[in-house]
Amino acid sequence: MNAPDSPDAILDIHDMTVAYDRRPVLWNIDLTLPEPGLIAIVGPNGAGKSTLIKAVMGLVPVVSGRVSVWGQSVEQQRQRIGYVPQRESVDWDFPINVLETVLMGTYGQLGWFRRPKAKHRQWALECLERVGMQDFATRQIGQLSGGQQQRVFLARALAQDAHLYFMDEPMAGVDAATERIIFELLENLRNAGRAIVLVHHDLRTVAEYFDEVVLLNVRIVASGPVATTFTPEKLQATYGGRLSILDTMSEAVRSQQESV
């Protein structure tokens, strides 16, 4: 990251600014992701973590800046981009079952008017199996626990068969079993050469699982390999004067460094 602009970078964000009601939420973001890997975006509440990935995907308007993926516009590369939104962003009482939800991941490839066929169903079931949810295929999505719902969203993203994934806090509010399953899945994706950009809130797991980290607080405070970027000084710069959090963090960093 922070490598010189390369036209073939998986993701290249240049000079991006986003504002809500004239208040900047992201300021002058420059970020280059040259290689596949597992990338965490961390920062305090209100730092613009979710907004960053939403702006990249064109879900919120940007004031300025440009984004390219594999040297092309996001619009041209939609088929290769996968998304896991925040769990709270949808109505879980919607009349739809687990398999139908996962099948939505195939809609992009299906295109207009075509309906999913047996082979798409088979594929969706495989994706469900990878998150350990195959036994729930016919459940209404509202009858699942939070962790199970999160896994359904991940299965839907897997069904997209994308090369670049954006995930918005997939570990928020999930049980330990789900967190293990998700991390295992993310590592498999990374090993298969996929890039995953993940908004993350749990600083304790950053050093253990991620390759790179982006420290964000409206601006990018630092970004790069976890070993050189995820340091107490840079975290302090990111989280500012929030001392209560800082203590927990430096503790987390210390324990990680000891365990590595």
């Binding site: 879900l59 939505m104 992009g108 928020a172 749990d202 600083l203």
Partner: protein, 306 residues
């Protein structure tokens, strides 16, 4: 004539009910059910303006005017939401009342001015007057509703995605804004097609009630659409037949009351989601269920963010 007046009206209201059931399912799930009500009320001034400008009594000319102001009302609503920071309910109430007040004033003014000579019977659109619909009217309305119904079935997959998860829909590259506008347009056409038979005040009920009733019976969108369309069609038929039997009873209110009865039955009796089904769940049972969940999933609770 092959068709009696009752059969003619029956065909119109059944088609209307079916399409309103289909379109209404998505309006309901997108939480846009009240937008239909705003469109219906905003249609009234359009009917009047269409008559004043063209002096035509043709149903399609009047309804075209209604469609224009109905859609304009819907746009005004979304514009206000973006620029005014007013709450959604305040915006709905405001646009609806202004349009309706304007419409009522115009219909009365037209009525007074033309007396009985060449005035169009615009007041009949307020609660509808199915009994006086002509064969040509029914054919045009029937064609419009069938068209809307077909469009909904053809883009079922796309509307389902849009309704469930709009941002995922956008990320996949679907034109979510245009799909949304199309759904709004289908809603508007359905509402406008309902005006002659059911009227400005009650047409939106046909979008909301069958869809809301259908939700009680199923957890699948495709089934919900089928049930909603079925209930809409049955309401149209029963309401029309009752109105033909009962002297002087208007069709629109009877159609809506039939739909409402189906709603009450659904709410009471439907398995799983119905009132009767859930009535027996006691505090103790809930506590036991909670314990079971916790036992099966010891680390259960949400992780506390550090």
């Amino acid at each position: 004539m092959f068709l009696t007046q009752t059969t003619l009206v029956l065909v119109g209201t059944v088609l209307l009910g079916i399409t309103a059931g289909l379109v209404g399912t998505f309006a309901y799930l997108r939480r846009r059910a009240l937008a239909g009500d705003v469109i219906a009320h905003a249609a009234l001034p359009g009917l009047c303006l269409a008559f004043l400008i063209t002096q035509s009594h043709s149903m399609s000319v009047l309804l075209a005017g209604a469609l224009i102001t109905g859609v304009a009302g819907a746009f005004l609503m979304s514009l206000l939401r973006r620029v005014s920071r007013l709450r959604q309910d305040a915006i709905l109430g405001t646009v609806l009342s202004i349009a309706y007040g304007l419409g009522i004033a115009l219909t009365r003014a037209i009525q007074n001015h033309y007396r009985n000579e060449r005035g169009a019977d615009l007041e009949s659109f307020i609660i509808g007057r199915a009994a006086t619909m002509l064969k040509g009217d029914v054919l045009q309305i029937g064609a419009a509703t069938i068209g809307c119904g077909i469009v909904v079935l053809v883009i079922y997959k796309e509307l389902k995605l849009l309704s469930f998860d709009e941002s995922f829909c956008r990320v996949q590259g679907w034109p979510a804004t245009r799909l949304d506008l199309l759904l709004m347009f289908l809603t508007a056409v359905t509402v406008i097609a309902g005006l002659p038979a059911v009227g400005v005040v009650l047409t939106a009920a046909l979008l909301i009630i069958p869809a809301a009733a259908a939700r009680f019976w199923t957890d699948r969108l495709s089934h919900m659409m089928a049930i909603s369309a079925g209930m809409g069609g049955v309401s149209g038929a029963v309401g029309t037949l009752l109105s033909a039997r009962l002297d002087q009873m208007p069709t629109g209110p009877l159609v809506v009351l039939t739909a409402s009865s189906l709603f009450v039955v659904s709410w009471m009796l439907a398995p799983k989601r119905g009132w009767l089904w859930n009535r027996g769940v006691s505090r103790e049972e809930l506590a036991t269920a909670a314990e079971e969940i916790l036992a099966a999933n010891p680390s259960g609770g949400p992780e506390v963010a550090s």
